[in-house]
Symmetry: C3
Subunit: 367 residues, 3 copies
C-alpha cells in the first residue's frame, strides 16, 4: 500500500523536508532501494549506499543535506530503531486471517467467542473456552477447554493453548508455541540419585533401580501485552500457576518450566531455558541460549549475556556473563586471565627453575 512522505512522518512523530506528497510502497537498505522505497540511512556511514541505490526519499540522520544527495525528500527521526518500529508497522501486510468464523473450524458450542473475532480453518476451540473481542486465530490453532484469552489476541498457525490457561489482552502467539504442556516434574519412591548427588556433592551411593512418578500439572496465567515465540513451550505449574507478567516478550524455542514466575516487561531471547519454580524479576533481559537453574531468584533489571548459565540467586540490577554466571566485569577479567594462562604456566616453570638455582647457590638446605 502506498504512503506519502508526509503520512509516514506523521505516523512516526518525525519531521520531514521536501516533497511531502511523494509516495513509497516499502522500505529498503540504501543500496538496494528502488524509486518506490524509503531508504533507511539513519547514520552518515550509509551515505555511500544512498548514492548506489535509486531512492527518491530517505530516513536520514539529523543535519544530513538530502538535496545534495539527489533526494527529493527526507524524514528525520531522532531515535532510529524506534522509527523502525513505526515504519515496519506501516509496511507490514500482516497475517491474512479472513474475518469471521471459518466453517472448517471445530468450535465447541459452549465456547464464548468475542465480537469481531476471526477463527481460521481447522482451529479447535474447547468447551467453555472464552475468546475476547477482535481475536485473530489462524488455522490449526487449538485452545483447550475453559481457557480464557483477552481482547485483540493474535494466535498464529498451530499455536496450542492448553485447558484452563488464562491469558490477558493483546496476546501474540507465534506459530507452534505450546502454552500449558504438562510440567516435567517426576519423583521416585525412594530418594533418587539426583537428590543423592546433590546431598553428597557428586558421590552418590551405588546403583539402584528407580522409576519415575509424574507430579501432575495444573495451570498457567499470562498478563496483558505478552508475546510468545515460535515453538516456545511454557509448562503448567503444580499447585500454583506458572506466570508470565504483563509486557514480557518471549522469543522462539524458549522453555519456561513448571511454576516459574516471569515478571513484567522482560525479554527472553531465543532458546532460553528457565527451570522449574525459578522466579525472574521485572525488566530482566536474558540473551540467547541463557539457562537458569530451578528454584532460584533472578532480581529485577538483571541482564544476562548470550549463553550465560545462571546457577544461583542474582541480585537486582546485576549484569551477568559466563557459565556459571558471574558479574560481567569479573567475567571479562577471568577470561583475560584464562587466555594468558598457557603463557603464565611457562613463566612459572622458569620461576621455579630460577628459585631452585638460587636455593642451591645459597646453600639453602631444608630437607
Amino acid at each position: 500500500m502506498p504512503h506519502t512522505v508526509a503520512q509516514i512522518a506523521a505516523a512516526l512523530g518525525a519531521r520531514f523536508e521536501g516533497a511531502g506528497d511523494l509516495t513509497v510502497t516499502g522500505a529498503a537498505e540504501p543500496a538496494a532501494a528502488s524509486p518506490f522505497d524509503l531508504a533507511l540511512a539513519m547514520d552518515p556511514r550509509y551515505a555511500d549506499g544512498l548514492a548506489k541505490g535509486r531512492a527518491r526519499v530517505a530516513l536520514l540522520w539529523e543535519g544530513a543535506d538530502w538535496a545534495a544527495m539527489g533526494l527529493q525528500a527526507a524524514i528525520f527521526a531522532p531515535r532510529g530503531r524506534l522509527a523502525m518500529a513505526g515504519l515496519t508497522r506501516i509496511f507490514d501486510a500482516g497475517p491474512a486471517i479472513a474475518p469471521g468464523l471459518s466453517p472448517l473450524a471445530a468450535i465447541d458450542p459452549s465456547a464464548e467467542i468475542g465480537e469481531g473475532a476471526a477463527i481460521g480453518p481447522f482451529a479447535v476451540i474447547g468447551a467453555n473456552a472464552v475468546i475476547g473481542p477482535r481475536a485473530r486465530i489462524a488455522e490449526h490453532v487449538s485452545i483447550g477447554a475453559e481457557a480464557v484469552i483477552g481482547a485483540d489476541a493474535l494466535l498464529l498457525a498451530g499455536a496450542r493453548i492448553g485447558a484452563r490457561v488464562r491469558i490477558g489482552d493483546r496476546f501474540i502467539a507465534q506459530p507452534g508455541c505450546v502454552i500449558g504442556g504438562d510440567g516435567f516434574s517426576f519423583v521416585t519412591e525412594e530418594r533418587s540419585r539426583v537428590e543423592e548427588a546433590r546431598a553428597t556433592l557428586g558421590k552418590p551411593e551405588q546403583t539402584k533401580p528407580q522409576s519415575w512418578l509424574r507430579i501432575h500439572s495444573l495451570g498457567v496465567t499470562i498478563g496483558d501485552d505478552v508475546e510468545v515465540g515460535a515453538n516456545t513451550t511454557i509448562d503448567r505449574g503444580t499447585i500454583r500457576d506458572t506466570q508470565i507478567g504483563r509486557g514480557s516478550k518471549i522469543d522462539n524455542l524458549v522453555q519456561v518450566g513448571h511454576n516459574v514466575i516471569v515478571g513484567e516487561d522482560c525479554l527472553l531471547c531465543g532458546q532460553v531455558g528457565v527451570a522449574g519454580s525459578t522466579r525472574i524479576g521485572n525488566r530482566v533481559v536474558l540473551g540467547g541460549q541463557v539457562g537458569v537453574v530451578d528454584n532460584i531468584t533472578v532480581g529485577d533489571d538483571v541482564v544476562a549475556g548470550a549463553g550465560t548459565l545462571i546457577t544461583s540467586n542474582a541480585p537486582a540490577g546485576r549484569v551477568l556473563m559466563g557459565s556459571p554466571a558471574v558479574r560481567m566485569d569479573q567475567h571479562v577479567e577471568m577470561y583475560k586471565a584464562q587466555r594468558r594462562l598457557p603463557r603464565i604456566l611457562a613463566q612459572i616453570a622458569d620461576l621455579q627453575k630460577t628459585v631452585k638455582n638460587l636455593r642451591e647457590k645459597g646453600g639453602d638446605g631444608d630437607p
Copy 2:
C-alpha cells in the same frame, strides 16, 4: 471435584487426624489457600503461611500440632514430593478428549483402532497404523502409516508420530513433539572439511566446494511408560532404529539424534541435545541444556548438571559438570581456581620481581 480428607489420605497411603469427612476441591500454597483448599505445608517453615491463609486442612510435617494452628484436620505424608505426585493426580482435571472417534478425524480405513480409543478432530491416522486400546488422541495429532502405538497412550494436540515408528504402552506425547523426523545425516562425495578438521586437529586444507547428500532414515522404537515433552524431536535411525528405553521421561525441546540409544528410566531435562549414534545407559539424568556429542557412550547412572557438554565416554555412575564435562568435584576445584586466577596473576608478577631482585643482589649472572 470435591474429595474428603479420608479419601485423599487413602489415595496417598498416608495417615490423617481430625475431621476425615471435610471436603476440599483443590490444593494450594498455605498463604493462598481458601477454605476449600488443602494447604501444602510439608515443612515447619510453612507454618507462618498457614496462619495467613484460610485453609481448614493441611498436608503437614510429622509431629505438627494441627489443632493449635486452628485447623480442623491434617494429613501426614512421610515423603513430601511423593505425596505431591498423588495429590496433583487427584486434582488434575486432565485434557478434555471426548470419547469415541471424531467425525472430523481422517482415519485410514486400514488402520486398526483399539477398543475404547478416543480420537479428536482433525487428527490423521495413516494406512495400517495400529493404535492400542483406550488411547486418547487429541486434535491435530498425526500418526504415520504402519506406526504401532501400545495401550493407554495419551497424545496431545499436534504430536507427530512418523511412519513405521513403534511405541510401547502408556506412552505420553506432549503437544507438538515430533517422533520420527528424518535424521540429520549428510555425506559429501569427497572427504568434508569437518572430517579434515578432526583429522588435522583444526588445520584443514584450504577451501573447496562441497555439497551434501542425505543418508536416509528408517525407524524409531520406544519402550513402555515413556513420556516425550512439548516440541521435542526424536529422529529416525539409519539402518538400525533410534531407541528410547522403558520408563524414560524426556522434557520439552529436547533433540535426540538418529541412531541414539537411550536406556531405561532416564530423565532428559529441557533442551537437552544428544547427537547421532550416542548410547545413553540406564537411569541416566541429564540436566537442562546438557549436550552430548555424537558416537560416544554415557554409562548407567550418570548424572550431568545443567549446561554440561559431554564430549567423551563417561563411565557408569559418574556425576558430571562443566563444558567440556569433568567430574563434579574436579569441576568445582577448577572453577574455584579460575575465580582466584586474576588475583594469582598479580601475585606471580610480584614473585617475579622479588626473584629478579634476589638474583641481582646475589650476583647471579646467567646471560
Copy 3:
C-alpha cells in the same frame, strides 16, 4: 521391496562379487542381519559381527574374503558413508503422501498448484500462494498467502510456511518447522538497560521503567536444495529478507533470527542459534548447540565444535571451539592449562614460601 545384489551395486556405482541375483529387502548391522538383509560391514572390525548374524550378502571393505566368511555375495564400496546415502535411499519407503489434492485440504481458489502436486488432509494453502510441480505436502501443513515454493518440495506434517516467504526447488521441511515467524525485534522509547549495559561495560544506571515496542517483520528467502529440521524456526527479516543459501541443511530445533544471512552448502546442527542480522558464510559447519551472537560475520568454511559460543567476527576457514569461541588449538591449550590449574596454584604457594625464606635469609629488607 526386494532388490538384487546386482541392482544395489549398480545403484551405488560399486563393484560386486558372487551371486548377483540374490535379493534382499533391507540393510542391517552385521550381528543383527537376517538372511534377507544386506549386512553393513565396511571395516574389518565388523568381521566378528558377520559371524554372529545370518546375512548371505554384505557390503564389505576392499579385499575382504567374503567366501571364507560364509557369504554368497559381496558388494565393495570405496567410501562407506557415501554408500550409506545410496543404500538408505534404496530401502527408505519414504512418507506416505497420497497423490492428488485431498478433499479435506483448504486450498484457496487463487493459489497456483503445480502439476503432479500432492496435498494432504487439513493442509491450508493461502491466497495467491504458488506451489511448484510435484510438491508433496503432508497433513496439517500451512502455507501463507503469496508464499512461493519451487519444484519437487517435500513438506512434512505441520510445517508452517508464512505469508510471502519465497523458497527454491527441492525444499525439504521436516515436521513442525516454522519459516517466517515474526522476528524478535523490540525497541524501547528511551535507551534500554541492555543498550546501557553494553555502553557502560556492565554498570548501567539504576532501574527505570521500560516497555517494548515491536519492530515488525517482512520476509524470508530460501535457495534451492535446502532442508529444514523438525521444529526449527526461521524468522522474517525487517526491511530486507532473512536468507538461507542454496544447498544448506539445517537440523532440528535450530533458531535463525531476523535478517540473518546463511550462505551456501552450510550445515547447522541440532539446537544451533543464530541471533539477528548475523552473516554466516558459505560451507560453514556449526556443531550442535552452537550459539552465534547478533550482528557479526562468520567467514566461509568456518567449522565450530558442539557448544561453541561465537561472540565476535570469525575469519574464513577458522576452526573454533569454546565459550567464548577461540581457535581450536588455542582452546585445547587453554583447557589443558585450566585442568592443571588447581595443582599449579599449590606450586605457586610453595614458591612464595621458598622465596620468602630466601629473602629472609638473604636479609633482603625492602619495606
